[in-house]
C-alpha cells in the first residue's frame, strides 16, 4: 500500500467486567440481562444520602488479574471521583482510581503472529478498578426520539487494563486480546463476553511513517464500539489503511491534530468520526471522601500469588516441552480452560501417551462435548477411564476401532473400561490363535501369498479384513505382522 516504511502503533484500553455476585459498592446483583432498572438501590442510583461500601471480592479479583499480567500491587490504593455530567451517571461522577491504581507496570507475553516460535512482551501501564455507568437506550418512535435510561449496570465492577502502545498490527492485537481473555477466564476473574459487554475494547492507533529518514506521526485515533475480536481486527486494519491514505492526501500529522475519536461501523466495515463527548475534559479528580484508602498487606498479595497456579501461557509452553505436543495441539487444549487441561494431563499420565491422548481429546472428546452441549466437568468418560482405555491401545491390546466401541459404550453406561470390554464381548486373542487363523487364510488364498512374494505387500490388506470377520477381537496390526511373518 505504501511507498514509505510504516510502523503501526497501537495501545489498548480494555474494560473487563469482574465476575462478582454483587456490584462494586452495594449489594445489588451484578448479573447481566435483568429487566431495566430492577437491580438498583439508593447506592447505585446515587440517591441523596446513599454511601458506597467497597466489595472486597472485586479487590481480590483485580489483584489476581494484575498478578497474572506481571503487575506490581502497591501497599495502598485509593478511590477517586472522576466528574462529568452524563445521564447514565446518576451521581455526576464515577468512582474510579486516578493516581494510585490497584495494579501497575506489568506485561503480557504473547506469541508473535509473524513467528510462531517467537514471543513478544506487551507492556501494561496500569489496571485500575472503577464502577460502570448505566445504559441509554434510544427509542426512535413516531418521529420523536426518546431516550430511556437503564441503571442496572450502574456500579458493576470494571477493571480497566491499559497497555503501552507496544502493539504493531491488528494480528498482534488479536493475539493480545486472546491471551488476555484466556488468563481472565482461566482465573475466573471475568466472563469476557464481548456481546454482553463484559469485555470492551478501545484502541488508540496511529502510524509512524518514515519520510527520508525522518519519522512522521499521524494523528492518534481512538476507535470505540467494537464488539467482537473480529471487529477489532477489521477496524484496526481499516484504520491503518485510512490513516495512510489520509496522510497522503492532506499530510496532516499529530502536531496538527493530536487525537480524535472514531466509532466502528460493523455493517459498512469502516470507522467514522464520533462527536466528542467532552472536549478537553477536566475530570477534576479528587479522593472520594466516602471511601477509605485500601491497604493491601504484602502477605495478602503473596497468598493471592500462590493461589494463581500455572497460567495458560506457561501451560501452553509446558505441554510442548513436557509432552512433546505441537504448538497447535497445546493451544487447542489450553484454550479449553483449566478443567480440560487437567483432564488431558490425567489421560496422558494414565495412558503414557500424550500425543495419542491429545488427539483423542481433540477429536472424540471435544466432538462429543459439542454434540451433547456438555462441559468437561460433566463428561461421562472420566480422565482415568479414557487413560486406561488408551493404555490398552498403546499396548496393542485394542485397536482403534474397538477402542472407539469401548469409548462409545462408556459414554452411555456407567462402567469401568474392563466392564465395557466384557459387555462388548471383546476378548484378548492369544498369539497361537492368531497364528492358526492367519495360516488358515493363507492356505485359502494362495494368490495373495504370491502377490506379497512378488513385492505387492499391500495385498495382505484383504486378508486382514477377512480375519476381522472371522474373529472381531483380532488386532489388525498383529494380524498383518503375523501374515507377513508366515509368508516369510
Amino acid at each position: 500500500m505504501t511507498a514509505h516504511e510504516v510502523t503501526t502503533i497501537i495501545g489498548l484500553e480494555v474494560h473487563v467486567q469482574l465476575k462478582t455476585q454483587t456490584k462494586l459498592f452495594c449489594g445489588c446483583s451484578a448479573a447481566f440481562g435483568a429487566p431495566p432498572n430492577t437491580q438498583v438501590c439508593p447506592v447505585c442510583l446515587g440517591l441523596p444520602g446513599a454511601l458506597p461500601v467497597m466489595n472486597e471480592h472485586a479487590i481480590e479479583l483485580a489483584i489476581r488479574a494484575g498478578l497474572a499480567i506481571h503487575c506490581s500491587i502497591p501497599p495502598m490504593t485509593k478511590w477517586d471521583r472522576k466528574q462529568y455530567f452524563y445521564p447514565d451517571l446518576p451521581k455526576g461522577y464515577q468512582i474510579s482510581q486516578f493516581d494510585l491504581p490497584i495494579c501497575a507496570d506489568g506485561y503480557l507475553e504473547i506469541t508473535d503472529p509473524a513467528d510462531p516460535d517467537g514471543t513478544r512482551h506487551i507492556g501494561i501501564i496500569r489496571a485500575h478498578l472503577e464502577e460502570d455507568a448505566g445504559k441509554s437506550m434510544h427509542d426512535e418512535v413516531a418521529g420523536k426520539s426518546d431516550t430511556r435510561i437503564d441503571l442496572n449496570r450502574c456500579g458493576t465492577p470494571l477493571l480497566e487494563i491499559v497497555s503501552q502502545p507496544d502493539l504493531r498490527s491488528a494480528a498482534e492485537v488479536k493475539e493480545y486480546l486472546t491471551q488476555l481473555k484466556l488468563i481472565l477466564t482461566h482465573l475466573d476473574v471475568s466472563d469476557c463476553e464481548m456481546q454482553e459487554g463484559s469485555l470492551r475494547v478501545d484502541a488508540n492507533v496511529n502510524l509512524h511513517i518514515d519520510v527520508d529518514g525522518k519519522k512522521v506521526a499521524t494523528p492518534i485515533v481512538e476507535v470505540k464500539n467494537m464488539n467482537s475480536f473480529r471487529a477489532v481486527e477489521r477496524a484496526l486494519e481499516y484504520e491503518v489503511e485510512r490513516q495512510y491514505a489520509d496522510w497522503e492526501n492532506d499530510g496532516l500529522t499529530i502536531e496538527d491534530n493530536p487525537k480524535t475519536t472514531r466509532g466502528w461501523d460493523d455493517v459498512n466495515q469502516r470507522t467514522f468520526v464520533q462527536r466528542e463527548k467532552e472536549e478537553s475534559a477536566d475530570y477534576r479528580y479528587f479522593p472520594d471522601p466516602d471511601l477509605l484508602p485500601v491497604r493491601i498487606p504484602s502477605e495478602r498479595v503473596e497468598a493471592l500469588r500462590q493461589s494463581l497456579g500455572e497460567l495458560p501461557r506457561a501451560t501452553y509452553l509446558r505441554l510442548q516441552s513436557q509432552h512433546d505436543l505441537k504448538p497447535y495441539d497445546a493451544d487447542v487444549i489450553v484454550n479449553q480452560g483449566p478443567a480440560m487441561i487437567a483432564y488431558f494431563e490425567r489421560v496422558a499420565e494414565v495412558s503414557g501417551d500424550a500425543k495419542r491422548s491429545s488427539s483423542w481429546i481433540q477429536q472424540d472428546v471435544m466432538r462429543t462435548l459439542k454434540d451433547r452441549e456438555l462441559s468437561i466437568d460433566a463428561f461421562p468418560v472420566t480422565s482415568v477411564g479414557l487413560g486406561e482405555l488408551l493404555k490398552l491401545v498403546v499396548k496393542g491390546q485394542l485397536d482403534n476401532t474397538r477402542a472407539r466401541d469401548v469409548f462409545n459404550y462408556l459414554l452411555d453406561h456407567e462402567s469401568t473400561v474392563d466392564q465395557a470390554i466384557q459387555s462388548l464381548g471383546i476378548e484378548q486373542v492369544d498369539n497361537s490363535e492368531i497364528d492358526a487363523l492367519c495360516q488358515e487364510l493363507l492356505d485359502a488364498n494362495p494368490a495373495v501369498v504370491a502377490d506379497v512374494r512378488s513385492g505387492k505387500v499391500q495385498a495382505v490388506g484383504s486378508l486382514i479384513g477377512q480375519a476381522k470377520k472371522k474373529n472381531p477381537n483380532a488386532n489388525p496390526q498383529q494380524v498383518r505382522e503375523t501374515l507377513l511373518k508366515l509368508i516369510g
Binding site: 446515587g46 441523596p48 446513599a50 471521583r81 466528574q83 455530567f85 446518576p90 455526576g92 479528587f286 466516602d290
Partner: protein, 489 residues
Amino acid sequence: MLDSAKELLRMQESGDLTAVEITEQALAAIQHSDPQINAFTHVAAELAVDAARRVDAKRLAGEALGPLAGIPVAVKDVLCTADMPTTCSSRMLKGFQPPYDATVIHKLREADAVLIGKTNMDEFAMGASTETSAFGVTRNPWDTDRTPGGSSGGAAACVAAGNVPLSLGSDTGGSIRQPAAFCGVTGLKPTYGRVSRYGLVAFASSLDQVGPIAWSVDDVALLLESIAGFEPRDSTSLNQGVPNYSEILQTTDLRGLKIGILRESSENKAVDHAILAAVHHAGDVFRSCGAELVEVNLPHSEYWVPTYYVIAPCEASSNLSRYEGAHYGHRTESIDSNSEQGPLVSAYCRSREEGFGAEVKRRIMVGMYALSEGYADKYYNQALKVRRLIKGDFDAAFTQCDLLLGPVTPSSAFRIGEKVDDPIQMYLCDLFTVGANLAGLPAISLPGGFDEHGLPIGIQLQAPVLEESRLLFAAGAFQSVTDYHTKRP
C-alpha cells in the same frame, strides 16, 4: 412548652402522661410558635400521633420499650425519611421523598421515638443563619428579629421554643454548635464516624456529622446513645462500641481533669467582650469543680477558616453534581432544544440554575475552581496538607490537656439580613468551630451566659477523637452548678 426528655420519660412511666398526650402537646406548641419562628419545613402530625399511639399500646401491653419511647424528636431536613419529604431546604429537592430512611432515622424509630417533622436549614447546609433556605428564614425564639444561626437553625430553634425536647442536626463546620449557642441550647458534634452518615444528604463528606440538640447535657447524652454506633453501610463509620453516656453524668467532681484554654481565642480582637467574659467565667466554674486550667495554643488556627472554605466547597461541588433534573428533583420546564450545547446540557444547566440558591451556586463555583486542572495543587491539595497540620496541632494540644475550652462564636445571634450579603462575614461565624470538623473531633456547645441584650452565649468544649464521654462528663458537671441551660426565651 415541653419538659426535658428525661422528665417526659419519667412521667410516662409514672402514668402521668401518655405518648399521645406528649405528641399532641408538641404539635400544639408548634402550631402556636411556628408561624413566627418557621422552624419546620414539614410537620408529620398524623404519623407522629400514630407512632405515639403504638408506643402507648406497647406500654399498655407490657412490651419492652426503646430508650426514647414517646419522645418527640424533630429532624433536620437533611436526613432521608421514607415517609416525609427530604428537601435540604432547597427548591432543587422540593417535595422529594427518598425511598429509604437514614440510619439515624431508623435508629430513632427502633428507640420508639416519635418523629414529629423536618426542620428548616440553610440550603444544603450551606450558611450560618438559616437565611439561605428556599422555604423562608427561621427566626430566633429569643428575639425574632435575629437569626437562630445555621445551618441547623430550625433544629436549634424548635428546641429553644419548647416545641420538642430533642432534635437532630448536622455539623459540617459548626452547624450544630453555632445555632445551639445562638438559641441557648446544648448541641454536640460527635467524632467523625461516631454516628452513621448513611442517609445524611452530603454537603462535605469528610466533615459532615449528625448530632443531637437538646436543653441539657443529660438529654444530649440520651439521644447520642440512640444514634451512635458502627454502620456497615458507611465506610467511614467507626467500629467501636457505644459507651453508656448517660451513666457518666453523675458527678460534679472534675479533680484530675486538665482543661486547656486557647491563647489565640482569648486574644482575638474580633470576638465580643461578652463572649470572652463567658469563656473566662466558664473556666472559673470548671476550676471550682476541681479541674486544672492550662493555656495551650494551636499554631495553625488562623488557617482553619481558609482551609475549611477550600475543602468543603470542593466536596460540595462534587456531591451536588447529582442534582441535574434528570433522575429526580427539580427539572426545568424550559429546555432549549436549539441550544448550542444541545437539549441535554441545556436541561442540566437550567434545572441547576433554577433549583439552587445563590450561596449553593457560589460554593459549587468555588469548589469546581479549586479542583480544576492547574488550580488543584494551589488550593485543594494545599488545603489537604494544611488540614494535616491542623490535626497535628490538636494531637499536640491533647498531650497537654484533656479538653479544650473556648468560644463557639465571635458574637451572639446577629440580626436577620445583617450578614447575608457579605459571605466573608458569614464565613467568619465558623471561626472557632471548623477546627473540630477538620480534625474529626467531638465538640459540644453549652449555654454559658447572656449578653447585654439578653441573648444567649455559648461556650465550647472539644475533646480527642471518641472522647464524647469526657466531653459530656465535664459539660454535665458545668450544668449541674450553673443554670444557663434552664433559662427559656
